[in-house]
Symmetry: C2
Subunit: 605 residues, 2 copies
C-alpha cells in the first residue's frame, strides 16, 4: 500500500497543479472524517522504513561532492582560469531582470517553441485584460442601475418618512438578496485579497476553501457584489474583482491552449498575481497602482519577472475598460480622462505645508487603528457566533445580524442629508476642488457634514465588510479619508487664513492616507494619484500616507486583509522579523508539524 501511495503521488506531481489529487480534499468535513477513520492506526505507522532512503541519499551526495571537488581541483591549475570562466559564464547569459519569461534564449533548445511559448504567454496576459476590462464594466453598470433604482424610488415617495422607508426597504431587500446568493457558494463571501495573500504564498485555496475557483462561486460573487454594492452597503468592489479575476485565470488555465502554464506552481502564481493586478487596474484604469498592489499582496519575496507580466495585463485591462466605455458611449469621465478629474491651481501646495500633511496622516493613522480594533472585535464576535453550536446564535449571525446592519446603514446614510447618500466615488469629486463646498453640504455647517460623513463611513465599514457577502474595502476608506481630510483642510483654512491652504488638497491626501493605512499598502496612494490625475500632489500624498502608515505601525492592529485572514483562520506564511540578537531557537515553533513526501494523511492526523 505504501508503494502504491508513492506511485500515486509521483503521478500526481507530474499533473498540472489544478488537477492534482493528493492535495485535494473535498471539504473540511471530509478532511475531519478521514482524520477520524485513520486515527486508530496512526501511532505506529510506516515510520521505520524511512532511514534507508535518507542514508542512500546521503551517500549519493557525498560521492558527487568529492567528484566535483576533484573537477574543480583539476581545473584550478591556471590562476586566471577561474575568473575567466566566471566572466564567460556571465557573458553567455541573458540577465535582464525584466525580460519576458526569464532570459536564456540562447539555451532554449528549440527556438520556435521558445517564441511560441513567449507569444502564448503574452496573449494570455493580454487576454486577461481583455476579459477583465469589459467584465468590470458590466458589473459596474449593473450595480449603478440598482443605485439609480433606489434614487428613482425615493423620488416617487411623497414625504420624508416614506422616503426613509423606501430607502431602507431597498437596502434590506438587496442586502438580503446578496446574502442569499452568497449562501449558494459560501466561499464567495468577503474580499478576495486576504485569500490572494494566502494563495500567493503557494497554498492551494481548494485545500481549505472548497470550491474557491468554481464557476458557481464566480456567479455567486458577481451577483452578490452587484446586490451588496447596489443595496448601498458601505462596501467597495476591488477585493471582489481580484477574486473574480482569479477565477477567470483558473478557468483559462484549464483550456487546452494554456494548459502548459500551470505545470509549474510558480508559473501559475505569476499569472494569478497578474490577475490580481488586472482586478485593481480595471476598476479605475490605474495600471501602476494595480501592479504595485499585486506586489504588496505578495507577502515576502516578489519575483521581479512577475512585474512585467502584471504590467502587460494591467495595461491591457485599463485599455479595454476605456474601449468598452467609449463603445458603450458612457458619459462617465473615465471614457476620456481620469475618473475623478480634480481642479487644483497649478501649484496646489507650498513646501511649508508638508508638516500639516504629515499631521493629517498621523491623525488618520490613529483613527485607522481605532477602526481596525472595532473591525477585529466585530469579526471575532461574528466568527464565534457562526461557529457556535447554539441554534439561536447561528440564526442571529446568519439572518438577524445582516438585517440590523442593513437597516443601520440605510438610516445612517439617509438621515444626515443628501451629502451622505453616496457610496460611489464619482459624486465625491466635489471634495477635491479649489472652491467652496456646495449648499447641500452647508445645511448645518460644512464641518458638521464632513465629520458626520467620515464618522458614518468609519463606523459602518467594519460592520458591513465582515458580513457574509462579497465586498471590497478600498472605496469606503477612500471616502472616509477624503471627508476627514477635507474637514482638516477647512479647519486649517479657518483657523490660519494666513497660510492660504486649498482644503481640497487635504481631502486628496486624507483619502490616500486612510486607504494606505487601512490596507497597509502604499499602492493605494499611487491609485489615488492615478484616478485623480493630480500628479502635482505627489509629495503631500506620499508624506501623508507614510505618516499614517508609520503611526498605525506603532499599534498592534494589522491591516484589514491580515485581520480578516487571521480571524477567518486561513493558512499563510508569516513574515518573520529578525533582529541581530535573534537565534534560530527564537524563531522556530517548538511544536513543529512537518510532512515528507512519504507521510500519509493518517500520520498527520
Amino acid at each position: 500500500m505504501d508503494k502504491k501511495d508513492t506511485a500515486l503521488s509521483a503521478t500526481d506531481a507530474m499533473l498540472p497543479a489544478h488537477q492534482r489529487r493528493t492535495g485535494r480534499i473535498g471539504s473540511l468535513h471530509e478532511f475531519q472524517q478521514r482524520a477520524a477513520r485513520y486515527d486508530g492506526q496512526s501511532l505506529n505507522g510506516p515510520s521505520n522504513d524511512r532511514k534507508v532512503p535518507i542514508a542512500a541519499l546521503l551517500r549519493d551526495e557525498a560521492v558527487s561532492d568529492t567528484y566535483i571537488q576533484v573537477g574543480s581541483g583539476r581545473r584550478g591549475s591556471d590562476g586566471s582560469d577561474f575568473l575567466e570562466t566566471f566572466r564567460n559564464y556571465g557573458g553567455r547569459r541573458s540577465i535582464s531582470g525584466v525580460s519576458l519569461f526569464g532570459g536564456e534564449r540562447g539555451r532554449a533548445l528549440d527556438k520556435h517553441a521558445y517564441y511560441c511559448r513567449q507569444l502564448k504567454a503574452v496573449s494570455f496576459l493580454i487576454l486577461l485584460g481583455v476579459i477583465g476590462g469589459p467584465l468590470n464594466y458590466g458589473i459596474r453598470i449593473l450595480y449603478n442601475h440598482l443605485i439609480e433604482l433606489r434614487e428613482w424610488l425615493v423620488d416617487q415617495a411623497p414625504d420624508y418618512t416614506s422616503k426613509l422607508a423606501v430607502w431602507t426597504a431597498h437596502t434590506v431587500v438587496f442586502s438580503g438578496l446578496g446574502l442569499f446568493f452568497t449562501q449558494l457558494a459560501p466561499v464567495a463571501a468577503g474580499s478576495g485579497v486576504s485569500q490572494m495573500k494566502s494563495i500567493l504564498t503557494g497554498i492551494d485555496p481548494r485545500m481549505y476553501l472548497p470550491g474557491y475557483f468554481d464557476l458557481s462561486t464566480f456567479l455567486a460573487k458577481v451577483a452578490g457584489l452587484v446586490c451588496s454594492v447596489g443595496a448601498g452597503l458601505i462596501v467597495g468592489t476591488e477585493g471582489a474583482y481580484v477574486h473574480i479575476m482569479s477565477i477567470v485565470t483558473h478557468h483559462l488555465l484549464k483550456t487546452p491552449l494554456f494548459k502548459g502554464f500551470s505545470v509549474h506552481l510558480n508559473g501559475r502564481l505569476q499569472l494569478l498575481a497578474a490577475a490580481c493586478a488586472v482586478g485593481v487596474s480595471s476598476l479605475c484604469s490605474s495600471p501602476i497602482g494595480g501592479v504595485l498592489f499585486s506586489m504588496e499582496v505578495t507577502s515576502t519575496y516578489y519575483l521581479t519577472s512577475n512585474y512585467i507580466k502584471a504590467f502587460i495585463s494591467a495595461v491591457s485591462g485599463a485599455v479595454m475598460l476605456r474601449l468598452t466605455l467609449v463603445l458603450a458611449q458612457s458619459k462617465s469621465n473615465l471614457a476620456t480622462q481620469a475618473v475623478l478629474k480634480t481642479q487644483f491651481p497649478a501649484s496646489p501646495f507650498t513646501i511649508w505645508e508638508i508638516p500639516l500633511y504629515v499631521l493629517l496622516g498621523a491623525l488618520l493613522g490613529l483613527l485607522r487603528t481605532a477602526m481596525m480594533w472595532f473591525l477585529r472585535t466585530v469579526a471575532e464576535r461574528r466568527s464565534a457566533c457562526r461557529k457556535s453550536s447554539q441554534r439561536w446564535k447561528q440564526v442571529l449571525a446568519t439572518w438577524i445580524d445582516p438585517l440590523v446592519v442593513a437597516v443601520l446603514t440605510a438610516v445612517l446614510t439617509f438621515v444626515p442629508g443628501e451629502y451622505a447618500q453616496h457610496n460611489s466615488m464619482d459624486d465625491l469629486a466635489i471634495l477635491f476642488t479649489e472652491g467652496d463646498l456646495p449648499s447641500t453640504w452647508q445645511v448645518v455647517s460644512k464641518y458638521y457634514a464632513l465629520s458626520v460623513l467620515s464618522a458614518v463611513f468609519m463606523f459602518l465599514l467594519p460592520l458591513c465588510i465582515t458580513l457574509k457577502i462579497p465586498t471590497g474595502i478600498w472605496v469606503p476608506t477612500f471616502i472616509a479619508g477624503a471627508a476627514f481630510g477635507r474637514m482638516f483642510g477647512e479647519v486649517i483654512a479657518t483657523l490660519f487664513p494666513a497660510i492660504n491652504v486649498t482644503p481640497g488638497t487635504y481631502a486628496l491626501a486624507g483619502a490616500a492616507a486612510f486607504g494606505s493605512a487601512a490596507t497597509r499598502a502604499l499602492s493605494v496612494a499611487v491609485i489615488t494619484l492615478e484616478i485623480t490625475a493630480a500628479m502635482s500632489m505627489i509629495l503631500p500624498l506620499f508624506c501623508a500616507s507614510l505618516a499614517a502608515m508609520a503611526v498605525s505601525n506603532l499599534f498592534k492592529e494589522k491591516s484589514v486583509y491580515d485581520t480578516l485572514l487571521v480571524v477567518s483562520g486561513l493558512p499563510f506564511l508569516p513574515l518573520i522579523d529578525f533582529e541581530p540578537t535573534t537565534t534560530a531557537g527564537d524563531i522556530v515553533e517548538p511544536c513543529l508539524v512537518y510532512i515528507t513526501k512519504k507521510t500519509t494523511i493518517a500520520r498527520v492526523l
Copy 2:
C-alpha cells in the same frame, strides 16, 4: 593552518559586512599575485579531510529527522489539533507584507530596543533623502553653470567659425578635465547602475572594483560628472547619482550610530536599494519611478519589505530637493510643480490612436536594438584596446579616442542649429506641447530638425557613455525618443489630418518607450509620467513602452546596463529561464566551480 583559517573566518563572519577580511582582497592585482603564489601547492590540497565533517553532518540530519517525526506522530492523536495549531500559529504572528522591518513585534524580547531600532531605521532612510536631495541640487547647479559658461562664450564670438571653435574647445577642455578626474579614481567611470545590479545580488563590489566605496571615488565621480555633463557630452546623470548615493550610504553605515544595520548583508542591501531609489527620485522628484527603478535593478527576487523603505527614502529625497529649490529661490519649474509641465488638451488622445502608439513603440524598439548593437561593438572595441599590451592602443583608448568623441559631439550638436544645442531636458518641454514647434526648429523643415536631433543623440550616446567618465543613460534616451516620437506624430498629422492627432503626445510616448526599451526598465515610463505630470497620457505611454520592450525582446541585444555589465566583466547572478521540458542538466554548468567553508584560496585558483 587549516584550523586557524576556520577560526579566522568564523571571527570574520561576526563582523559587519564592510569590515570582514576574508572576502576582501585589496586589488585584482593582489588577487592574481596570491593566485600565482598558491599555484604550486593547489593540486593535492586539503581535499582529503573533507569527507568526515560531511558524513557527520549527514548523520546529524538523519537523527533530527527521526526525532521530529516521532514528535509529530505523538501530537497527531487528536484530529482537529493539527488545524488548530496551524491557526493559532498564524494568529500569533504579524504578517503584513509591508510592515517596517518585518512584523513580529510580539516576539521582540525587548520592546524598547525594538522601537529604538525602528526609529533608527526610519531616521536613516529619511537622512538618505535629506542628504540626497541637496547633493543632487548642488551637482545640478555646478554643471548648469558650465553649460551657461559655454553659451556665454559662444555669444562673445564674432562669427560662425569662431563660435564653432569656442563651442568645440569648451567641450574638449571639460571632457578632458572629466577624464582627468576619473583617472584619479578609475572605478568612478561609467554609470552606477550596472554595478548596483551586481551589488544587489549580494556581491561585495570591493572584491572586483577596489575603492568602489572610497571617498576619493566620491569626489572623482562628482567632479567627473559635473565636467562631462557640463562639457555638453551626450550623457545623463541618473546612473552616476545612484553610485554617489551608494557611497553616501556606505559611509553612513560606518558611523557608530548606524553600525548595527550592516551586520546582516540583507539589511545592508536593503539600504543600498533605498539609496538607489533616492538617486533616481531626487533627480527629478519622481518617487514612484525611483522605487520601481530600484526594484527593477534587483535582478531576481525582490524582498517586499524593501519597498516601503525605498519609498520613505525616495519621498524624503524628493521633498528635500523641492525644499532646496525653494530655499535657493530657483526659477526652475521643479520648485513648484513638475519639471516638464506639459500642455495638452483635457483628452489628449482617443482610444483609436492606441495602435499608432503601439506602432511608434515597435519602431523605437527596432531603433533601440540597432543602437544597442552599436553600443556593444563600441564598448567591446574600447575594452579590447584598453586591455591591449600595445602601447599605442592604450594611448589611443585613453586620450585620442575621447578627444575624437568630444570633437565629434561638439560639431554634431553645434552644426545642425540651435535646436540641437541642448542636452538638458528643461529646454525640450517645447516638444510636449499642443501647438506647432517654434521657428528655430523650422529653418529647414521640422521633420529634418527632429530626425537630425534623434539621429545625433542615438549615434552619440553609445560613443559617449562608454568613455571612462561618470555617466548616466536616461536623459539622452529621453531626448532621442522624444524627438523621434514628435516626428512620428508630425508625420501622422500631415499624412492623415482626419485623425486629428496631437503630435506632442507622441513625443511623450516616444520618450518613455525609447527609455524603457534601452534600459529594459518600465519604471522609465513611470518616471516620464511623474516629471511631465501628464497622468491622462498613462495608457498611450505604457502601450508604447510595452511594445518597444516586446520588440527589443525579440532580438538578442541586452539592456544598456546588462551590456555594460557583461562587457566590463563584472560578476552577477544570471536569471535562468526554465521551460517545462528543461532538466537540471540543461541548466547547470558542466564545469562547476564551487566553494565550501573550508576551501582555501589556494584550492580555488
